[in-house]
Amino acid sequence: MNQEDLAWQKLVVAARQAHDERDETAPYGFSTRVAALALAMQSQASIASILDRFSWRALGIASVLAIGSVGVSYGSWSTSTEEDLLSDEPVVSALFDASGE
């Protein structure tokens, strides 16, 4: 063991003898304040988690509705031809008539 190690060991042995005489009980009102804060934080967290859960649920329902509506309308979309779609354009048709052809 070198001189510095020896000096450190002597120091820590002596330092361990120094007793901390300070009071170790919680100061007046400390536990009440901490308990109130902790429970308040937990309620905020639980409100946030409820909102979180509801928003995910709403997203799920919206997705199911969107997929359902696509499924219901798919039949009419698939049978439509380009011709059907074009014939249902009265504005274009009127413009054509107005062009004099």
Partner: protein, 196 residues
Amino acid sequence: MPDDELFDLAGCLDRVRRRDQAAARELVDHLYPMVIRIVRARLPRRVQEEDLAQEIFLKMFSRMEQYQGAVPFSHWVSRIAVTTCIDHLRAQQRRPEFRMADLSENEANMLDTVMTSENAVAPDEALAAHELVHKLLGQLKPDDRLVIQLLDLEQKTIAEISALTGWNTSLVKVRAFRARRKLQKHFQDLKRKEHS
């Protein structure tokens, strides 16, 4: 560690989980002596011990659901306390290098005694030794300081330090070895400055 035999910890935790404020108060009062000892041993500069203790208790309550009972509850809380202190120590600025002139007369005498005398330090000089040890530890990085403090001052085993800090045993040994080398260097620097 708090005396869990005289305190119905399981019952108290159960009531805290059911949001019983009186139980939360009892739990804080029960654990406060252990938490404040950890805080006082590692208190960063410019941080009030009560503020740090409050932060530790709030973390404990917010993580209560994560406690699985694998280790005693007091061990689990002391780990939260140690890691919270170390986070604060990491966040603070490095302490400027100190010189002999920064030491009080008692501390300078103490340093001289341990460096030159073969004898052990007298018991009535324990307080000066304690102050000097903390000044020297303050020169180390927070992780190095923690490992030396736990090993040399609190006489914890490598396994206990590993459990408290979450570092594996090899890391604890490497940190302790490096920290001791740095302490040696600080001693040598002080000695050189004293003679120059």
